[in-house]
């Protein structure tokens, strides 16, 4: 029972981590909060839904959602971040992204309706048993995809020129620019990567919950924010770890406590950690936003 819940939690947590990584990447590079990220995630899931309904294979659904979300993310950067990057206070992007989120939500409502819709399962579920744990192929797919994407991200950030440009920009924008890095391009790449991960998470979670609604992004977005804080702002490894922790805690709280508290646990854990370690689990010694 416990091992089973642990696996379920890791599966959920992996998808949460993908969302949180997006927040943390954008925060790390721009020092700004992207409050429409939950909506990018939701739109990604709907792109996946459209593809799934058209009868495409799960991999095409996943890739399409990632591509769709990445395009949208780059667009959001263009519309809501770049124009106010060097003007206004750091509150301004909060407001522009809230506005963009509102628009995205209701555009989806216009197209797909406000009611929750069922998300077709990628394939007939086959189950296999390893010791006390039963895994369905769907669960394996979700867990495997999120872990693979995280590994890929680490690789991209560490070993490719784009990844290095992103890390340099996160370190210090001015100096990175002086060293010949195209900062604007690095920022666009950050948004594309962050949004693609959110799109993937959208499809994975829609598979997991077998449905989605236009307001799906709000809840998961909030959780992503909590996880980002938990792991330390701008810390990618922290977000991965935080996501897994929150996923496990959430599943355990449903299994052993009341299910109606599940949404509070992410925040309870977050606030607790912030009291003890204000910079997050793996955060740097810096706490100014």
């Amino acid at each position: 029972m416990f091992a089973q819940q642990l696996v379920n939690g890791l599966m959920l947590g992996g998808a949460y981590a993908l969302v949180a990584i997006g927040y943390t990447l954008i925060f790390g590079v721009l020092n700004l909060l992207h409050l429409a990220h939950g909506e990018v995630f939701m739109v990604g899931a709907y792109v996946g839904l459209a593809l799934a309904l058209a009868g495409f294979s799960p991999w095409v659904v996943l890739a399409g959602a990632m591509l769709g979300a990445a395009t949208l993310g780059v667009l959001v950067e263009r519309v809501a971040f770049r124009p106010v990057r060097n003007r206004g206070s750091h509150v301004t992007p909060l407001i522009t992204t809230i506005a963009v989120g509102l628009v995205l939500q209701h555009v989806v409502v216009k197209i797909f309706g406000a009611e929750p819709v069922a998300f077709p399962a990628p394939f007939a579920a086959a189950a296999m048993t390893i010791g006390p744990v039963t895994l369905t192929t769907l669960q394996l797919l979700i867990l495997g995809t999120s872990l693979a994407l995280m590994a890929l991200l680490e690789l991209v950030l560490r070993a490719t020129p784009t990844g290095m440009a992103i890390r340099a920009t996160a370190e210090n924008q001015t100096v990175a620019g002086l060293m010949g890095i195209n900062v604007s391009l690095a920022i666009v790449a950050t948004f594309a990567i962050a949004s693609a991960l959110a799109g993937a998470a959208g499809v994975l979670l829609a598979w997991n919950f077998t449905g989605l609604s236009p307001f799906f992004g709000v809840k998961v977005g909030l959780k992503g924010l909590a996880i980002m804080l938990l792991g330390g702002l701008g810390n990618v490894t922290g977000a991965m770890l935080g996501g897994l922790i929150v996923g496990v805690v959430e599943v355990m709280s449903v299994a052993y406590l009341a299910s109606s508290y599940r949404d509070a646990f992410a925040f309870a854990v977050m606030i607790l950690i912030l009291m003890l370690r204000p910079t997050g689990l793996l955060g740097a010694r810096l706490q100014t936003g």
Binding site: L33, V79, V84, H90, L222, L229, Y261, A268, G289
Partner: protein
């Protein structure tokens, strides 16, 4: 005499202004709170519980709502002392969410089903009266010792401390006062809608409160007043676009923030509008 519809628009707009002011107060000391919905919920539930369960007169219930908001504001202020900028935004966000989940799981307050049967008590005059008191308060505050301490803290915490501003005391005062205002707003809200549920005070509420104040501009409390008034009446003006309303609303807010990232009332505009403007501009 005003029609019921107009009255309801006025009351909701007035409550939105009160909430925007509750965000503005800590924000004027540099403390951004994304959890004002949580304080509003506490005020609303406290006041409603008192009038329904104990038949407490409305003014006393209102005061109690404000008091609880203030006490919790003080309690939230303590951990907030260690946090700055966006960290604070996120933690207050989390606070708002926790309050919502708490009421969702409190059977005494109706849980997810909401709390009904609240006696009608709030009138336009209550809302207007509180607004006049608040405007007077904020006008007096801006020139006072405390008001200047707020501004100093917002502009540069280290410099403010060096000048002898007790930042701990000032921040706690700002959070407490913001909580009181939001609590009062919640109590007024509950006794007008007559039914409250936790979802009414969720993240959406907190974000919109922030949106109102920033849209109006954080240079003066008038920004919160103007921003909240415009944005809470705007949906009424957009009735003709029917179900495109939210999309229009979002696009309008976005365009406005791109054109004026400092908000509607920035120091330059304030200077042109007011006689004391030169000083405001010089300070801003």
């Amino acid at each position: 005499m005003l029609s019921d519809h107009t009255v309801s628009i006025l009351i909701f707009a007035g409550i939105d202004v009160i909430m925007a002011l509750s965000f503005y107060l800590p924000a004027s000391a540099g403390q951004l709170s994304a959890g004002q919905g949580g304080f509003m919920a506490l005020g609303a539930y406290t006041a409603a519980y008192l009038t329904v369960q104990y038949g407490v007169p409305f003014p006393i219930a209102l005061a109690a709502g404000g008091m609880i908001g203030g006490l919790v504001g003080l309690a939230v202020g303590f951990p907030a002392l260690r946090l700055r900028g966006l960290y604070l935004v996120l933690v207050t966000f989390g606070f708002g969410e926790m309050v919502r989940v708490l009421f969702l799981n409190a059977p005494a307050f109706g849980g997810p089903g909401g709390f009904a049967g609240i006696p009608p008590a709030t009138t336009v005059w209550h809302v207007l009266g509180l607004l006049i008191v608040l405007v007077y308060f904020f006008t007096r505050l801006s020139g006072s010792r405390m008001g200047r301490a707020f501004a100093a803290l917002r502009d540069d915490e280290a410099a403010a401390e060096a000048m002898g501003v007790n930042s701990t005391y000032v921040k706690l005062a700002a959070f407490t006062a913001g909580g009181v205002i939001a609590g009062l707003g919640g109590a007024l809200y509950a006794h007008y809608t007559l039914f409250i549920d936790p979802e009414a005070f969720g993240v959406g509420r907190s974000l919109f409160v922030m949106l109102y104040a920033v849209f109006g501009g954080l240079a003066s409390f008038w920004g919160a007043v103007v921003g909240a008034s415009i944005l809470s009446v705007l949906p009424e003006l957009l009735r003709w676009v029917k179900d495109w309303r939210e999309i229009f609303y979002g696009v309008l807010v976005l365009v406005m923030m791109l054109v004026r990232p400092q908000g509607l009332l920035d120091p330059a505009l304030l200077a042109r509008l007011s006689l004391r403007g030169e000083r405001v501009a010089a300070r801003g």
